[in-house]
């Protein structure tokens, strides 16, 4: 009963946020509403018993992407005014409205055939999900089935995702940081513009170690509870981004120079792919962790741990590369 109340409330807030996003013209407010939207979605995922997804949504959607979008806004310097003084009236609103209404009603009609949430006879529960639930603990020794599926059963998919994250980082570097050598260290986001603020410094120094500790916990406890490489990487990079925001970009870049980040991003992918190659050399299949240890459970556990480490390193470095690329460009 209370679940339905929470569901309806969260969904209503989601709809209100979406409509408000459409009607606002202030880009800062829209970015903030995006964050609110992600946080509400994360709440919905928690209600649906999907803490791993909720974790990712809260860390990526409400955390990092808000910061990245704010950095982009600082870059384009058009926070207030809409692009058009008045929306152009070149099109008739009726045809799109009819199309949208028809499509929407078709989709709503389609939902009548969707099985209920968590219904045991739903197709999603009757294929491989049953196998994972029955055998994941015996075969991998990892209590969190999500981690077992993500890193072991579906290891190829996750390797692809890590490569996608890495490729995104490389693409941003190619597009934005192109002439990095010519960049002179200018004033911009350094200490002289952002005044040194005692309260912020003290609290940041107090909070950042805790965030990093939490990131490590999420990284290495991902086998047993919600979490894993993706979430931990984002949380870890959030700690360093907080440091960069409070203490200035130049100081943060001294701690982790960009050239390290570039190598670390690649290193994570290499760790993941390398863990896959080892069983190949031992006479098994690619990413078959069973051969890594003396028993199946030990091998699987070691493989999942190493693979998650690779994911975490790549995600954290790519997030920092993105942040430094956007924020570093704004200080020219």
């Amino acid at each position: 009963m209370i679940d339905i109340v929470i569901d309806v409330t969260l969904l209503a807030f989601l709809a209100i946020t979406a409509v408000a996003t459409l009607h606002l013209t202030n880009l800062f407010a829209i970015v903030m509403l995006f964050g609110v939207f992600s946080l509400l979605s994360a709440g919905l995922f928690v209600v649906m018993d999907a803490p791993d997804v909720a974790f990712t949504e809260a860390a990526v959607g409400a955390g990092i992407s808000t910061v990245l979008m704010l950095a982009t806004l600082a870059l384009v310097k058009r926070p207030q005014k809409p692009y058009y003084a008045e929306a152009p009236r070149a099109h008739r609103p009726w045809l799109p409205l009819v199309v949208v209404v028809i499509t929407g009603s078709a989709l709503v009609y389609g939902t009548w055939d969707i099985p209920g949430f968590g219904a045991p006879e739903a197709p999603a529960q009757t294929h491989v999900a049953r196998y994972y639930i029955d055998n994941a603990l015996q075969e991998t020794g990892v209590p969190n089935i999500v981690t077992a599926v993500l890193a072991s059963y579906r290891g190829f998919d996750t390797l692809g995702e890590v490569v996608v994250v890495y490729t995104a980082g490389v693409a941003v570097l190619l597009l934005i940081v192109g002439g990095a050598q010519k960049r002179r260290p200018g004033p911009g986001m350094r200490g002289d513009q952002m005044r040194p603020n005692l309260i912020l410094h003290v609290i940041a120094k107090f909070v950042i170690p805790l965030i990093i500790l939490f990131a490590l916990y999420v990284q290495f406890h991902g086998d047993f509870g919600p979490g894993g490489g993706f979430q931990a990487g984002v949380i870890f990079s959030a700690a360093l981004i907080l440091y960069a925001l409070v203490f200035g970009l130049d100081v943060a870049e001294k701690i982790i120079p960009s050239r390290w980040l570039h190598k670390l991003a690649a290193l994570g992918v290499v760790i993941y792919a390398g863990v896959g190659v080892v069983p190949l050399l031992l006479g098994g299949n690619y990413l078959d962790y069973t051969l890594l240890g003396s028993t199946q459970v030990a091998g699987q556990h070691l493989g999942i741990l190493l693979v998650e480490l690779g994911v975490g390193i790549t995600v954290a470095s790519v997030m920092l590369i993105l942040f430094f690329a956007f924020a570093g460009r704004a200080r020219k």
Binding site: R195, N197, I199, L200, I203, F206, V207, L210
Partner: protein
């Protein structure tokens, strides 16, 4: 029983403060006074709710986690309010005073 009553008092007071804060954000005239309303929601409201939940949880792992969240909010929420006010003042936003605008309708 007493713990139940105490926790309900905390929860209801926290919820009431949340509503008051929301009304305040909506109704107050300028940024700084709105920040004051938002600060109430951030600190006292959240902490009363956490306290109420902690009393419900008793001595358990959940209570410990709530205490950790309490600690985190205790340090970060006022800092966030401070950072917001500081940034607003730094960028030249002046608080709206009574003498600025004698005619405030309704």
């Amino acid at each position: 029983m007493i713990i139940d009553i105490l926790s309900w008092i905390c929860l209801l007071a926290g919820g009431a403060l949340g509503i008051v804060g929301g009304i305040g954000i909506h109704r107050f005239p300028d940024f700084y006074s709105r920040l004051h309303a938002a600060g109430i929601t951030d600190t006292l409201c959240a902490m009363l709710i956490l306290l109420g939940l902690g009393l419900q949880a008793g001595w358990s792992l959940a209570a410990f986690k709530l205490a950790l969240i309490f600690m985190f909010l205790f340090f970060t929420s006022p800092t966030a309010s401070h950072a917001l006010a500081n940034a607003a003042q730094h960028s030249g936003l002046q608080p709206r005073l009574d003498s600025d605008e004698p005619e405030v309708g309704s």
